[in-house]
Symmetry: D2
Subunit: 395 residues, 4 copies
Amino acid sequence: MTVDGKPTLGIGMVGYAFMGAAHSQAWRNAPSFFDLPLVPRLAALGGRNAEAAAEVAGKFGWESVETDWRRLIARDDVGLVDICTPGDTHAAIAIAALEAGKHVLCEKPLANSVAEAEAMAEAAEKAARTGVRAMVGFTYRRVPALSLARRLIAEGTLGQIRHVRAQYLQDWISDADTPFSWRMDKTKAGSGALGDIGAHIVDLTQFLTGERITGVSAMLETFVHERPVPEAFSGLSGTATTGAERATVTVDDAALFLARFSGGAVASFEATRMASGRKNALRVEINGTDGAIAFDLENMNVLHHYDHTEAAEHAGYKRILVTEAGHPYFAAWWPPGHLIGYEHSFTHQAVDLLNALATGTDPEPTFADGLRVQRVLAAVEESAAGDSVWTPVPQ
Amino acid sequence: MTVDGKPTLGIGMVGYAFMGAAHSQAWRNAPSFFDLPLVPRLAALGGRNAEAAAEVAGKFGWESVETDWRRLIARDDVGLVDICTPGDTHAAIAIAALEAGKHVLCEKPLANSVAEAEAMAEAAEKAARTGVRAMVGFTYRRVPALSLARRLIAEGTLGQIRHVRAQYLQDWISDADTPFSWRMDKTKAGSGALGDIGAHIVDLTQFLTGERITGVSAMLETFVHERPVPEAFSGLSGTATTGAERATVTVDDAALFLARFSGGAVASFEATRMASGRKNALRVEINGTDGAIAFDLENMNVLHHYDHTEAAEHAGYKRILVTEAGHPYFAAWWPPGHLIGYEHSFTHQAVDLLNALATGTDPEPTFADGLRVQRVLAAVEESAAGDSVWTPVPQ
Amino acid sequence: MTVDGKPTLGIGMVGYAFMGAAHSQAWRNAPSFFDLPLVPRLAALGGRNAEAAAEVAGKFGWESVETDWRRLIARDDVGLVDICTPGDTHAAIAIAALEAGKHVLCEKPLANSVAEAEAMAEAAEKAARTGVRAMVGFTYRRVPALSLARRLIAEGTLGQIRHVRAQYLQDWISDADTPFSWRMDKTKAGSGALGDIGAHIVDLTQFLTGERITGVSAMLETFVHERPVPEAFSGLSGTATTGAERATVTVDDAALFLARFSGGAVASFEATRMASGRKNALRVEINGTDGAIAFDLENMNVLHHYDHTEAAEHAGYKRILVTEAGHPYFAAWWPPGHLIGYEHSFTHQAVDLLNALATGTDPEPTFADGLRVQRVLAAVEESAAGDSVWTPVPQ
Amino acid sequence: MTVDGKPTLGIGMVGYAFMGAAHSQAWRNAPSFFDLPLVPRLAALGGRNAEAAAEVAGKFGWESVETDWRRLIARDDVGLVDICTPGDTHAAIAIAALEAGKHVLCEKPLANSVAEAEAMAEAAEKAARTGVRAMVGFTYRRVPALSLARRLIAEGTLGQIRHVRAQYLQDWISDADTPFSWRMDKTKAGSGALGDIGAHIVDLTQFLTGERITGVSAMLETFVHERPVPEAFSGLSGTATTGAERATVTVDDAALFLARFSGGAVASFEATRMASGRKNALRVEINGTDGAIAFDLENMNVLHHYDHTEAAEHAGYKRILVTEAGHPYFAAWWPPGHLIGYEHSFTHQAVDLLNALATGTDPEPTFADGLRVQRVLAAVEESAAGDSVWTPVPQ
């Protein structure tokens, strides 16, 4: 099947909540704003609740609904499986899809354990030999300001990297009476702030620096140990926590760790959902011998860049409004100064994935990248459990 | 025709450039994110160049293309005409559409002259008697941070308004060799920075304060009087400026004026496309006896609010990240701290318009509001031509 | 008399309130931090109230007190008269001092009327022939960030200046029950926000651009017409407003004007004491063909600089922390990043004045510069009184 | 001896470089701006180099010079010894002074080792029994914005503290060819960034929270191991590193550590002199259950305060310009919005110390507080040397 003479790719998406909406928007917007070699078709939306799935499908133009992800994978008109479910289901779905010869886009974190992630990376590597591709959804790589930061660093603008400081600060469960959800349940989510938002800054800083985290010293903290169970609550696995008035939080509220990068930089990481007043403050600062960059997701169209090679009296952090046609991805959007938002990075992710598939190259971040992040998260948990002692990350 | 049991409204949009893309996105996104009583259908896209129009139609899912706007208006499946063309064509299209019983959404500024705007407002008033509605597209009213500002002011939070300072600063034609375009041609655009971006801050400040501008003292300036004509340039009217290497700029590059509001506030306005370094800096600051607000479109998800009734040692400008479910429009989008961008205000405009149509109320801003803006622009031009002398705005 | 082999200059200062403290600090700090060719000696402090003056003298180390400014001028040990009194007394004191062969530093605005300012400028010019110097105290020229801005502009970094926007926003009399003071009394202060703070931005923008304001279109506004009289209130002239419970405000609360500069720039000015939430927001933005600068006195150690000659994807406003040894005046102070405050500019003023006196050059801003500002203020008042009509500034 | 009927206190200051100038300014300014019960007299300045000391003494008004600190302590006219020398000399001078019955103000960090600090704290405790007082110079407690933060936290405004993140980022030795100085010499400075600037954030966060750091997990890093020796270099101890072209850096360039506070908060600390682009960025953020504060020394007159008890749609970080008469220390200075700078905190320190002496109370921070900081620094070094393992801080 072709659209305007271009080949199409049938997307089958599993999950339809927050991430499902963001991904739906991405698949739909990609061909409207970008000139693509491969046109996505919203073939099938997968969800256990047929009615709820159908409603979302109607809103975004999905052609059909499947209540069993195995059937969704099996469909002839599905060429790519987009996994937007909680982490405990990623491995099963992704491996099945890859084995069925379907490309896979899997939300982050790749899995809930290193073992799962390893199996997935192995499946991805095997699939790649037959031209089947896998990608993990660390979308922040595609925020134009961060893509620009990567470009500046890759060009050597910052010199040798010495300092990385990364924080992902939210406060949505700061109140003790915020209800329990699957994100506080270790069996579903793997970990708390660590895997949910800490994973983002781990991937992002490795991406930005082009280096790897080699070891960590960590602490985890849970401030609120019990939370009220919402009346209508039912776990995604179907085993609703009913009857109970309060559920036990089995994940971290906050994760802090020190780290070293392969190029010699020292680093400080913090991920928390309890930083009152910070709503989505993913902040990264990187200082090198020749310059520095600073970024805050709460002002996501801006990159601050410092050029240390300038004379001291001319130097200063430059606020670059990353909305120029010459900036990553931006030529597709609006005139300079007309901002884009959170969802646009998902569109950029879809665009990059479709381009990679069309040219037969491996889309990044790969499942191997996702596994690399998982190993850092595991080292963090190990260090935190062991008196914060320095814990190398297996490379 | 209905979708999910809901009535639909066929949209016929004229024009498919910058504004066309923004509006297409709005019509498509509105029903995906908002629960609407009336579902828009992208029935027909109008454009003189059939091929170019068809390409845009394909990208955004318009069902058909019309090369003659009169035919587009006449279509049975078109219930609302969305006008995204340059200002010199607004009056003709809007009046024809209203007379044909079609609702109208018309891009700003409403027209290129007060006379045209009066005719349009009259047509709108006449149409309203038969339930046909007209709205002018001052979308910035729908930026959540500015909607929140309006809410705060309407609730009396700022007390009596004393100061309004509004600037709309861009620099896209700061370079003398930026090519000539229809926006520098008085016959097409009516005026330069004044009507293009000055109109926005005139409407916005009247909206925010709930007051009217009663008089102005103004200056206009054109810094670059001749510009190179791009090779492929052709006026929208079809009369291409060919053969000439340079064209004369017949509009203002910058417009500055002082003003008074009906409630007693004094005001300062500036609109320019030559403010090097400012890309889309629509800034508004309003000081009242009890508080103040400040906003900058280059950081559009933020509203600064100052509460003058607090003790001096606790008072300060509060940076409100306008991304909470309790903020205007935001419940439909993402979790707190996940930003939205330029195009989302167009979706909000579509949503408000569809809601008004469904409930039979007049959507705002009305053509009368658009006329009111036009009268301010005319007073500015009159004052500037008359030694900046104080020039009342007819009410 | 010499100190460390250096000649000294006896300072006689008239007035000892807010400005008196700032100047005392300046005279005392100058030789502590700067290497001066001429060492100031705090010879005599003048004030009608002997007791109050003696207290201030004791605090800052003034050697003696005079209750009659004429006697202060006549003293042999006074070589420079520093005038820190309200505007209505400037002319008399300054002219007498110059005629007595004493150098003069006079607080801004130079006078309360053009006529007075002309007489003062004439006296200064006459005195200069005999090596007696006069300077007016527009200290903001000496804020390092603004001195740096001047340097950048003088070097041509901004290209041709097109836009000047200057605001001086305070809110200290925003409340209607803030008591009456001499600053609201036209006979003492000459004007309100216009002369008090508007004078600063007039001088500053002429200094920064190296151009002159050639004409204005203006409005003045008084929001609060009557204010309570503080019990102990007594005018500086001795004619206390007693018995009355409320006094009439005879000056403007706010002054707004548009202007043109001699080099072709268009400008917008606003001075107000009623901008709730703004405490001392002297903001200047200047856009030229090749770049721009932006400054806010509420963050006074920072200059924002935009270089329009950079590629669009690298350009942005650069936040220069103006605390480097290579920055104006800063080598005398602290290491980079260690801020200075409001009072330091007064020290810089004293340093520049002493250096000029030692080298026999005219210190700037001269009384002629002060007169130039006065003429702009007069044109503003004239325009405001005449329906905002364009009013040229005599050059 | 009395001044204006007030008792005086003779100050003997040892050291006259950077800190010496700041302290001189403080002693001189305190009685000019504050109403003091005890008036400082600049009795004697101590420095080994008589000529250099005399020059500084002349600039700031010190009455005499001593080249031997023991003689300075012995003088009858010296009632307080102010120690501004490198850390390796603190213990000897402070203990001698206390034993001689002289009050002591000692620059931070208190000492170069816990053993020295313990001896000093013991000496201070012993001296206190006879009314002799000792204080350590963590001046940042006296930045008005930080004093205000402490007040807000002490009043319970932030609720229970959960997160502390503190960074002190400088870049003055980022370049590998920045010359060697005593601050890179472990025998003189004790440690590098850790003791120099890390000590500040350790004391400050303990002060702000009113809690203690109970344990740490740390890393130290030296990026530049050898530096050029300036020609004229001579160690303060007189043993100049001569003949050598390069000297070995024996301290850390950067120190990072995680920590826990006694009240349950988790914390992240970083001190570095290699963060290119950051000049003096002491940043603190503290999140509690009910609110948060944020501060950056590069914009030191501002405190950001977030009130989590407000409705989500009204909440936001409030930028409090800490220049109101109701703010700590500010009534003594200028009108609202007129900033103060780095040196003013030293004046506040002098004022608080003089007030404590006059009222016979212990000035804070005490030597016991200084010892507490020292123990944290020691724990950091121990953890860093031991694979970052969690290291409790002796209380």
